[in-house]
Amino acid sequence: MASTTVETREPDSEDPVVELRNASVTYDDGNSYVLDHVSMDVHRHEVIGVIGESGSGKSMLAESMLDSIPDPGVLRGQVRYNPSEGEPIDVLDLTTEELRQLRWEEISMVFQGAMSSFNPTMRVGKHFEETLSAHDADIDEGLAFARELLQDLYLEPDRVLNSYPHELSGGMQQRALIALSLVLEPELLVMDEPTAALDLLMQRSILRLLRELKEKYDLTMVFITHDLPLIAALADRLAIMYAFHPVEIGRTEEIVQNAAHPYTRALLNSTPNLDAPIEEMVPIPGSQPAPINVPDGCAYHPRCPLADEQCRSSKPDYVSVSDRHTSACYHWDDARDEIALNYSENLGDAARSGGDE
């Protein structure tokens, strides 16, 4: 298959597209947090993977960027969007109309399960037309661009645009949805498990195509998933969610080779993969806390082999582990010594040399 030979723009950590500051989502009159004081940036031209198990708050993190938390959830804190040109925008201060324009034109979102995003009684092409006209875009130019996007995604534009959603396979629908999300040329694409309902071969093929799209159109991507190995080859950085906030954020190589949080290390070891000796794959005992029942101190302490009195009584702040790598753990250094990664023999020297650059 032909590859695109466009010069890649490197992610710029000095130039955040989205800045979250103390973003929290509460239900139940502010008593239960499903997103708990999250402060993080999305850098321009990066792919950041947000990894979490069911109920870790990862979808809330995605939806907070578009201020689209389902009722009756309440989003507080600051969500700032910095367009490539023009003034920063405080997303939570926007009117309904301004928000409507921001979504899709500036920040676009792709969900799991294309079948429920498309209208089953409308041809795929009509979805493109309606989207373009709802945002006052030129329909002919927009459709020409849509055809190019569909071709980039290895779809036949004529066939896809003239089909009803059910006439396409799941993988084709999801790719058509990705094309639809990009038709207004947004700056940021937020994807919430966009490939989860598909078989692995289609998932990996789509990831490969996303990488090519990202390079061709200078996109920034937030990719939400529970599947760390799936996104590891695409993401520049990873954020690991546990109990409604990220417990560790760092460059992908750093996280995979030198994770500095006991949960991340346990998660890596519990993941079936083709590299690790099978005797060494171990599940994480216990389960994630529910929003109404988050333990005091570090939320991971009941499952953590390194937990001590401090972990039980006070919540750890982020520690800077190395360049652009932070972990919310008192014992991040011990975690590296005491929780060995089961695939490290295959990683070469980088894994053992220690990450403190």
Binding site: M1, S3, E53, S54, Y154, S169, G170, G171, M172, L198, D199, L200, L201, M202, Q203, R204, S205, R208, H226, D227, L228, P229, L230, A232, A233, T252, E253, V256, Q257, A266, L267, L268, S270, T271, P272, N273, L274, D275, I278, M281, V282, P283, I284, S287, Y343, N346, L347
Partner: protein, 351 residues
């Protein structure tokens, strides 16, 4: 480890679905989907076979056919030497009854929430199989067995769990209940149809471990369906099992787990290996196929059915359908296994 005795024997199985033309187009020809097209497979006692392949490759249809939930349109399914559909139709004179066969061949579905009755407590859900297998058990004895099994699968306190409804359980717990329900039938073979796919990644190893631990205690075999080669590898390698790679209704390659992973022969097995993410962070490169989408199963390619996407395809692959060759440990449907085949002289396909 698998035993010597064959429990289930599939011979040249075909499952063809007719897509009848609607009332309105009288002239329309009916379309046939060849969901399974000529598969032979023996399943031994305490065996583990993983069937892998992408959506629409026929792995679920083959699985359901092997446990008697789908009648094949061709070929035979034999349970301990007897044709199960002959027994079903009363064509043979034997002591084996259809009900015994149905009881011996069980299934766990992908979505455990949908497979458990939402209006019944666990104790009632799990009493049902016990009642069928052993109608003479007293209520107290049934309860004791259910509690013991719930404890065995880590759902403690069992007396508390037994009184719960399915919606009061997590996805992992629901799947364990579905496993318990299947095991209480004392089955010879359990079909696990994407049974761990809906679980969080971190819970999958735990569920597979539990299934394998219980395999020894209950003396059962598994047919494990998955689209994920790393799960298939984990499940089969722990138990001396085999992985079968399916493509458009046929088994493209089958062999022992580690041989399939470390030394795949069929180009399609290689494609699945590419699709399996790892943590090496090396660039896996571009999609190693000429086309991303699977061909329409109503109109499968002529010759080898993978030739339209295969990166190694040559003109010879269009002309004839490869038979099954013996590689070192595997059986492979690909001309590349035959050093003297005309394949090597024919031009590459490039479209």
């Amino acid at each position: 480890m698998p035993g010597d005795e064959v429990v289930l024997s599939l011979e040249d199985i075909e499952v063809h679905f007719e897509n009848k033309s609607s009332l309105l187009d009288f002239g329309g020809e009916s379309e046939t989907v060849r969901a399974v097209d000529g598969v032979s497979l023996d399943i031994y006692e305490r065996d583990v076979i993983a069937l892998v392949g992408e959506s629409g490759c026929g792995k679920t249809t083959l699985g359901k056919t092997s446990i008697g939930l789908q009648r094949p349109t061709g070929g035979s399914v034999k349970y301990r030497g007897e044709d199960i559909w002959d027994i079903r139709d009363g064509k043979v004179d034997t002591d084996t009854e259809w009900a015994d066969i149905r009881q011996s061949l069980q299934i766990i579905h992908q979505d455990p929430g949908a497979s458990l009755n939402p209006n019944r407590r666990l104790v009632s859900i799990l009493s049902e199989p016990l009642r069928q297998v052993n109608p003479n058990l007293s209520k107290q004895e049934k309860r004791e067995r259910i509690y013991a099994l719930l404890e065995r699968v880590g759902m403690t306190p069992a007396a508390d769990f037994a009184e719960r409804y399915p919606h009061q359980l997590s996805g992992g717990e629901q799947q364990r209940v579905a496993l318990c329900r299947a095991l209480l039938m004392n089955p010879d073979v359990i079909l696990a149809d994407e049974a761990i796919s809906a679980l969080d990644v971190s819970l999958r190893v735990e569920m597979m471990d539990l299934m394998l631990d219980l395999q020894e205690e209950f003396d059962t075999s598994y047919v494990f369906i998955s689209h994920d080669l790393s799960n298939a590898r984990y499940f089969t390698a722990h138990s001396g099992g085999r992985i079968g790679v399916m493509y458009l209704g046929q088994i493209a390659e089958i062999g022992p787990a580690e041989a399939m992973i470390q030394d795949p022969h069929h180009p399609y097995t290689n494609v699945l290996r590419w699709a399996t993410p790892d943590l090496s962070l090396q660039d896996a490169g571009e999609v190693p196929m000429r086309k991303i989408d699977i061909p329409d199963p109503v109109d499968p390619p002529k010759g080898c059915n993978f030739q339209t996407r295969c990166p190694e395809a040559r003109e010879a692959c269009r002309q004839a359908d490869p038979q099954s060759y013996h590689a070192e440990n595997q059986r492979v449907r690909c001309f590349r296994e035959d050093e003297d085949h005309e394949y090597w002289e024919s031009p590459e396909l490039t479209d």
